[in-house]
Amino acid sequence: MRFLLDAEQAEFGRTLGRMLAAADTPAAVRAWGAGDSAPGSAVWRRLAGAGVFGLAVPEKCGGAGFLPVDLIVSFVELGRYAVPGPVVETAVAAVLLERLGDTGGLADIWRPAIAAGDAMVSYADLARGPYALDAATADVTFLVDGDTLRASDGSGPVQPSVDPARRLARCPGGAVLASGPAVRAAAAQADDIARLLTAAQALGVGRRLLDDTVAYVKQRTQFGVAIGSFQAVKHRLADVLLALEFAEPLVYGAAVEVAGASQAGTADAADAAGVGIAMAKVAAGEAAYAAARAALQLHGALGYTDELDLSLWIRKARALRNAWGTPAECRARVLPSPVATTR
């Protein structure tokens, strides 16, 4: 057992981090929220060029094969730099199409485009809520409605999210691509993967909020000393680190389980992985949210301003906490009601 990233995976994360740091993602996020997707799309293409979306696409379609741990490495960085757009949904759409198998050639069209960064794809399951993320910007939105899968190429009016960079909209129906129990089964697995990638993103958001806040409390002085020397400040940040440090192994552990389940191909293995994912989502979502609360508090009134980039992460942490599974839903997955399982 070696439960640690290998050198190549760790270096991949550092490389992505350097690339995103140089890309001025806060400007791209602000533009995205204002309806200008060009800077965000440019970041997107660079990510695809680095191979991020290919990690969700099989080799025969131009990807690297489905590599959950490497996807987590990527999505932590996407969260750390608040990359806008339907990043989770695009990766998950590729997974969904793979799980569905034969969709009349459709998968063969979209998956190479996803791997290459030529397609920005949104995905929504109406069982989870009526909104699709960034459907107005995406090239296509895959929509699961019960046991039917549609491809929707339009979008209703944008419903602003608490995170301005997340543009939510309802989607009209579209051409039916597949229907039947296989769609429902594939959607259930897609839901788990979306939840896992969201947890990874949240982890990155939380890390960034902590890093920025630590830097700030070292240089901000009050009463003649850096506020980071106050025990009340230290203890709050120690608790944030604690939450993030113990959420992280859950996220990677779930990814390892997903990889195992993907190879085993059994429903039991997939279900066990789903429980691990739900654990990871609770821990990472709560940790990121605690990081956001602490970041705002310790930045004081400065943190309450929109001009500070910190706001981009504070608001994202709140949105990610519930996206693809609220804490309550996830806890119910960890511990299903005995009524449902044994009676």
């Binding site: 057992m1 070696r2 439960f3 640690l4 990233l5 290998d6 995976q9 741990v69 902590l210 630590v214 409390v217 070292k218 000393v225 850096a226 980071g228 020397s229 106050f230 025990q231 400040v233 230290k234 203890h235 940040l237 120690a238 608790d239 680190l241 604690l242 440090e245 113990f246 959420a247 192994p249 859950l250 990677y252 552990g253 990814a255 390892v256 389980e257 195992g260 691990g276 654990m279 609770v282 821990a283 804490p327 309550a328 806890r331 119910a332 960890v334 511990l335 009601s337 005995p338 009524v339 044994t342």
Partner: protein
Amino acid sequence: MDLELTAADEEFRREARDWLAAHVPAEPLPSLETAEGFAAHRAWERELHGGRWSAVTWPEEYGGRGASVLQWLLFEEEYHAARAPGRVSQNGVSLLAPTLFEHGTDEQVARVLPPMARGETVWAQAWSEPGAGSDLAALRSAAVRADGGWLLRGHKTWSSRAAFADRAFGLFRSHPGGDRPHHGLTYLMFDLAAPGVTVRPIGRLDGKPAFAELFLEDVFVPDADVIGEPGQGWRVAMSTAGNERGLTLRSPGRFTAAADRLAALWRAGADPADTALRDRVADALIGARAYQLSAYAGVARLTEGGTPGAAASLTKIFWSELDIALHETALDLLGPHGELADAAPEAPDHGGWADGWIFALAGPVYAGTNEIQRDIIAERLLGLPKGRR
């Protein structure tokens, strides 16, 4: 990155499971914090040693199996899942022994460890003093140079299991007048039955005489029982402290087993509509799994040459708070039965949950309070400036 065990590790786990299934007493032993229970637990340590399970990571010549740290984690998972008795030898095995391996002489290791493994010598930790708890460097008990050794004088307190233990290890001020409080300390081992030692048991929250205060009046300790260099006790002690806060004191198996039992309790009789309680049980499962996976990652790092360092402070806060949350949730789940102590014939799990709750309450206090650990995390892991406490 993987979670797969090698065939050898699987075999080790299977062997531990089989042995425990055949040997763990069917009925829980009396509390090891009582004279009767202490004797019963000492006998259990002897039995464990018979199967060579009392100190699995030690070299075979001292009674161990030369097992890896990962195998130790696996053994602990099996041990707690089998509901095997608490370890009366824990202070010795998990605190003193690693210190001796790092700082002791060959003679000390060969003399001290085998009887520890056999449960013949049970060790207590004599660190705290009435004026020195988390501020350990404030300790005043003295070691005064004597012919061929040292004379110990002073007052130690809150020494776990010292009421019934055989020997103790602790820090003493040997070179007074140093410019910094943690200089001039010496780390020594001494006999609790030696002339000049008075042991006075102190009742805990649960009334059991679990720990004790020690009054030391010119207690002679030979030079052979000094660990490391005289005057360098702080450096020696800090390696013990890292063990105490880190994994070795509280293995993940303890919490995964307890969380599983809590979930079983919930499934067996909880009101499914009470989702607030359900969420707390789920959080216990999540916390235990997080601790387990974090331990696997930590072991991989150690195996590749890393050191736990200040990360042990994260571990200490996490397990101590998880332990309380787990037991509080169980007591709420048990409702009117939750308050039954282990003496109550109708106590669920022989009162384990209520007693465990009282024990868990001490977690944020001992091994360096959680407040001190948060300071360490902030200063050493986050790099925040030192300030007035």
